[in-house]
């Protein structure tokens, strides 16, 4: 029940909230702003002039494309691995009871709670001990450790709401395990998987720490940006790329947010 008190907050609180939001988002707007500046060596404010030339410069830089391509490939494969493993793990933990179930649940979530630097060092030493050369695949393995968690968390929450009797009902009506997965389980957890997958993709796409420890000579997009900041050559190109990254990661996260929100209504409808 809502209280009868005025829904309007005091002025001071409004200003404080506004200031907080500005502090969070103004720097991002500055990045957008400097993508169009005419000054390429330093960030002076206000920019001396505005130009669109950096868009075409960025477009024509092969190193941008290389880094972007690597990041997209890494994020896609890491997400794919996470979707399969995360879903299987969520299914096992939520649908059956077995010895050590809670422990496994905790161990799966742990990599995202651990600082990335720990995961990074651990993987790096593990790869050296096993004499696995750093490559495209070591980056993917590193990213998959935290991508699995995101998918698992999304899937496990949804699995809990798909009552066990739905699966039994499907079997009872003549569907074997595969048919039950395809016609009952997948439609009920589909949006959760999509949301988890998108979040995993976004996480992998802007990951720096674990990547630093697990990459060889390859540069993913965030690593490339870090290197660019050191070299003051065509600085606004970095801003153009940053702007692009914001858009690429923001859209899936927004989509994931809306998809899981709708999912609540769908899954809640059966009870």
């Amino acid at each position: 029940m809502r209280s009868d008190r005025s829904t309007s907050a005091p002025l001071g609180l409004k200003i404080a909230a506004g200031a907080g939001l500005l502090f969070l988002h103004l720097p991002i707007l500055l990045i957008f702003l400097y993508a169009f500046t005419t000054e390429e060596k330093s960030y002076q404010f206000p920019p001396p002039g505005y130009t669109l030339q950096w868009l075409s410069v960025a477009w024509n830089r092969p190193d941008v494309w290389q880094a972007l391509g690597l990041s997209v490939r890494v994020a896609s494969i890491a997400t794919a691995i996470a979707l399969v493993l995360g879903t299987l793990c969520a299914a096992a933990v939520s649908q059956t009871r077995f010895f050590g179930r809670e422990t496994i649940s905790l161990l799966v979530i742990l990599p995202i709670a651990l600082p990335g630097i720990i995961t990074g060092i651990a993987l790096r030493s593990a790869f050296s001990v096993a004499e696995i050369p750093f490559s495209f695949w070591t980056i993917i393995l590193g990213h998959a450790t935290f991508c699995v968690v995101v998918v698992y968390n999304n899937a496990v929450a949804r699995f809990r709401r798909v009552s066990g009797s739905l699966i039994e009902a499907s079997m009872d009506l003549g569907a074997d395990g595969f048919q039950t997965f395809r016609h009952v389980i997948l439609p009920n957890i589909g949006t959760a998987l999509l949301a988890g997958g998108m979040l995993a993709f976004a996480l992998s796409f802007d990951e720096v720490i674990v990547t630093t420890f697990t990459a060889g000579q390859q540069q993913t997009l965030p690593i490339w940006m870090l290197e660019e900041l050191v070299r003051p050559r065509q600085r606004p190109v970095t801003n153009v790329v940053a702007m692009f990254v914001v858009l690429v990661t923001l859209l899936p996260i927004l989509a994931a947010y809306y998809l899981t929100r709708e999912g609540d209504q769908v899954a809640g409808g059966g009870k």
Binding site: S163, G174, H183
Partner: protein
């Protein structure tokens, strides 16, 4: 007569818990069979053993003469109406009903037609486009019934199907289920903890307690001639008399049950037996009064007498009588 479901010394243990413990039963084709018992008595586990969701720890199960052990639920010609209905929330009502036919590969047009007909049978024609969330509990129950029956199962299993409905709807559904069962001729196996439901609907009742069948018989047998104290107490609310008390009335010293409605107020003549005691409680139940007297050694006996008969004063001495054959000796050891 063909045996639809046969249990031969079937047990299902979960660790140390004997959910089902050496159950023997034979359900005849076309029968309306009820499994009655309190929660945890093993009746639902028996139903799940028939459906294939559980496998017996011990013993043998046959469904229409075929061994059922190891046969998964989707290869049994048996369908279940679940207690929570378990309708698929992501499918329309029509798709829900057609689900069984869809996974069996029946053509779309044909299966939707069959689903439509099944919905009409449970009196929900035209509800096909809705979602389960948009229906009331009673309607969802009918959909669950249609979804099971559209597959033409040889045995329909119903797990407390009326448990979630209110009283009026429950009575109406009891009648409809009975009519439906008679017209389809399908064997219905029905789990309930409500003795009234079991007595009014079933052809035969198996009363469960502690994983065992206490008594198996027609509703009349179970009601009038309970074999154990548990059955006498659980089915209806019989007076259970101790061996000493029964012996004093001139019977062998065994536990006995005496139905409240078998007792009448006042001294009996010719062959009738009398019990006397002090009236301790009177409950007005509309058509009748329920009188409770306390006889010797604190034995309490309830009697159902028509409301038209004047009730004696509270605390006064009262004599009740019953026909000698109405006292039923039970098998329980003393």
């Amino acid at each position: 007569m063909t045996t639809a479901v046969l249990f031969d010394k079937v047990s299902r243990h979960f660790g140390a818990v004997r959910a089902v413990d050496g159950v023997d039963l034979a359900i005849t084709e076309g029968e309306f069979f009820a499994m009655l018992g309190p929660s945890g008595s093993g009746k639902t586990t028996c139903l799940r053993l028939m459906a294939g969701f559980e496998q017996p720890t011990d013993g043998h199960i046959e469904i229409f003469g075929e061994t059922a052990e190891g046969v998964p639920p989707y290869r049994r010609n048996v369908n279940t109406v679940f207690q929570d209905y378990a309708l698929f929330p992501h499918l329309s009502i029509l798709e829900n009903v057609a689900y069984g036919l869809m996974v069996k590969g029946v053509a779309r047009e044909e299966r939707l037609k069959a689903a439509e007909a099944a919905l009409a049978m449970v009196k929900l024609p035209g509800y096909g486009t809705r979602r389960p969330g948009q229906l009331s509990g009673g309607q969802r129950q009918r959909v669950a019934l249609a979804r099971a029956l559209v597959n033409r199962p040889r045995v329909l299993l119903l797990d407390e199907p009326l448990g979630a409905l209110d009283l009026k709807l429950r009575e109406q559904m009891q009648e409809e289920l009975k009519t439906l069962q008679k017209s389809l001729g399908i064997t219905f196996v029905f789990v309930t903890h409500d003795q009234g439901e079991a007595l009014s609907m079933a052809d035969r009742i198996a009363v469960f307690n502690d994983g065992k069948i206490q008594q198996l018989g027609t509703p009349e047998e179970v009601y009038k001639r309970p074999q154990t104290r548990f059955v006498a107490d659980f089915v209806g609310s019989s007076n259970v008399l101790s061996p000493i008390f029964v012996k004093r009335l001139g019977y062998p010293a065994r536990y006995a049950s005496l139905r409240p409605e078998a007792l009448s107020l006042g001294e009996g003549t010719g062959g009738r037996k009398n019990v006397t005691g002090r009236l301790v409680a009177t409950n007005f139940l509309g058509a009748s009064n329920r009188l409770t007297i306390e006889a010797d050694e604190g034995t309490r006996i309830a009697a159902m007498v028509p409301a038209s008969i004047a009730v004696p004063e509270q605390g006064s001495g009262v004599t009740l009588s019953f026909a000698a054959e109405d006292l039923h000796l039970m098998d329980d050891a003393a």
